[in-house]
């Protein structure tokens, strides 16, 4: 299991939870599981999210591994100039 930290703006979509525990070995699985547990998270995920795994920000990749016990944060998709 990994604990996924959401940004606080998402709490209204998860019944107030800011940390969601999911079973996932990759970033793609993680996003799928999040939506399965909290269907309302589909909208922000469609709008674009990044996943920070142990501090490394995965901008888009769905196949990045998530080690057991990793620190995982869901973040808004980054944009650059």
């Amino acid at each position: 299991m990994v604990e996924v930290h959401l940004w606080s703006g998402l709490r209204s979509l998860t019944g107030g939870q800011e940390v969601v525990r999911v079973q996932a070995a990759t970033t793609g699985e993680l996003l799928r599981e999040l939506v399965r547990l909290h269907p309302q998270l589909q909208a922000p995920i469609d709008a674009g999210v990044s996943v920070a795994v142990n501090g490394r920000i995965i901008a888009a990749g769905l196949s990045e591994p998530i080690p057991e016990g990793a620190e995982v944060y869901l973040m808004q998709r980054l944009r650059g100039g």
């Binding site: 920070a52 490394r56 920000i57 901008a59």
Partner: protein
Amino acid sequence: MALDDRKSRFTFVGTRPNRPDGLDKVTGRARFGADVTAPGMLFGAILRSPHAHARIVRIDTSKAEAHRDVKAVVTRADFADVPFKPGLEGEFWNVLENVMAGEKALYDGHAVAAVAASSALAARDALKLIEVEYEVLPHVTDVDKAMAPDAPVIREGAADYSVPEGMHPNVVRYHESGHGDVEAGFAEADLVIEDHFVTEATHQGYIEPHACLASLGADGKGELWCCTQGHWIVQKTCAALLGIETAQLRVTASEIGGGFGGKTTVFIEPVALALSRKANRPVKIVMSRSEVLRATGPTASASMDVKIGMKKDGTITAAQGVFRLQGGAFPGAPGDMTAMCAFAPYNLTNVRQVGYDVMSNRPKQAAYRAPGAPMGAFAVESVIDELCKKLGLDPIEVRLKNAAREGTKASYGPTYDRIGLVETLEAAKGHPHYSAPLKPGQGRGVACGFWFNHGGETSVSLALSEDGSAQLMVGTPDIGGSRASMALMAAEVLGIPYENIRVTIADTATLGYNDVSHGSRVTYASGLATIKAAQHAVEKLCERAAAKWGIPVDAVKWENGCAVPSGPNAGDFDPLPLAEITADMGRTGGPISGHFEATPEGAGVSFGTHIVDAEVDPETGKTSITRYTVIQDAGKAIHPAYVEGQYQGGAAQGIGWALNEEYIYGEDGRLQNPVFLDYRIPVASDLPMIDTVIVEVPNPGHPFGVRGVGETGIVPPLAAIANAVSNAAGVRMRQLPMSPPRILAALKGNG
């Protein structure tokens, strides 16, 4: 990806060779967006709304169509019917709506129709023959007014899932994040300062206006030449807007005369393609400067409230910020980025940040160098400076005391890997600039800044020639010398001289997909891909050597441009230089190339600290910048001269933003200053030399340690200059630009 090949000793990387495109650019030979022609070419021109907000009742193009020099006229009806859905397709709809107005003109300068004619003059004249009937609607251009209950609605239903109920429909996205308990944190503080800050919209100000040459036939096959930061996004977007297949549109990126984020989308390209399809001839469109200022860019304007609590020893106990960003008539203002970056330099137990994306009757904002970050840094670093002053603390010591480092929980959530903020602060503290005496009337300011940097989809191809030279094809347009950096990195891996490598920005037909040159990603991501592609070629070179020597390939290694036996047991063979292997390659297995396609996910965040001295004329409020020092973590500087150039350019743009650049709208909602005469970017005589210090704290996510350098340099200047000006003037400046009338008003106590 596996990054087992981290390198710290370099032969080519870190040197300063001449850039490969230097000769073309100093002789006028380099071909920019507007510099090409095609046989039978027509000239396009675009009619733009004079109103900030108006329903388009009727467009009559018959008189223009009847003009003998006019070969095509297009309106919104000539574009594909792009479905309006959330996500990427929704963004296509937004782009289409911006490229050519539908039911409403949403800002002064919004395109409403276009013509193609046999000369540029004829095209401009023909625009006057198009009759547009408008029903003028109430408009709003200010961010706070756009959020007010009585504000005109730009578009119903534009808000996404994130916006809390009860907000005005112009609020289209909402971000909230943080950790800890800010109220408890403020209660612990010895001093809490809360203040309101405002920044105006600024334009990226690239000197080259948007330009393109388009050719599209009824068979759905097209060619497009344009100045862009990313031709694959142009290809994808134009194909969608024109209703053709992506692969049928070949897009070539011209030399690009600056972008800074403003050339990451399309404006005229789909219009030129639509005109070309209708006229069945190539069409060139070149924007005028006033079109650039009225209808492209700019960055968002911001209204911000920041509250920070500090103990007497300088410890920050809590920080909170509300950042409202206005991004024009479409969703996209980076309020979320402002919020996430604002407090990122600090190790905070209690932090909360809120960002709003607000629509108004202005042009669709475009990314501008670390989009969203400079505004937030301005507000936060101003409050920290004020706290330091009131508590009698040194601004660098306070920043060091609170600085984020490896293991710190970032204000936006995750834990930092190896980062270089402390190193930039230590370098600032020890820099002679920081201890240099100030003259009367002068003030010194310091500020820190943060930016994420980005990876993105990347494809690179490297092909070796028989004579041992190499051609490298990358897909990220070279804005500031990246071809030189790519060649250096390839030279480092291949072990052949820098000069033997020719780097080309490949078109969309000759290389796989590449994300835009943005997010400071080019040296990081295309660089990483170049290294991988070169390593791929080296593997093949080693295979050929192994076959020639009749030893296993794992008994061969690559050293200084030669295949050599990996150890004494591998056999006794003379080093086999690259050129000797390639000379025979056609007969030893075929051409040798290396490729790499991936989305590198290891971009390293970066920090900078700036020191600036400003002098304020107390009688006129005029500011001059007398000394400027940029200190920034590059991770690893591949070509230090162009890293310095990025630092200096970021600082210069920051000086413009801080002092004089602003979008000025009249009561009528029209842009008052759409010319360089009144949109005042810094000129040579406005600036001092800009000193730079390159700090190198390697990024663990890149084989050579590269972090992006393009964007972070514009994050600290607004704040650093505001602090310097406030210290010089003796009064806190909370609104940008700090133009002389604003400073003089502040000095006289009525600002």
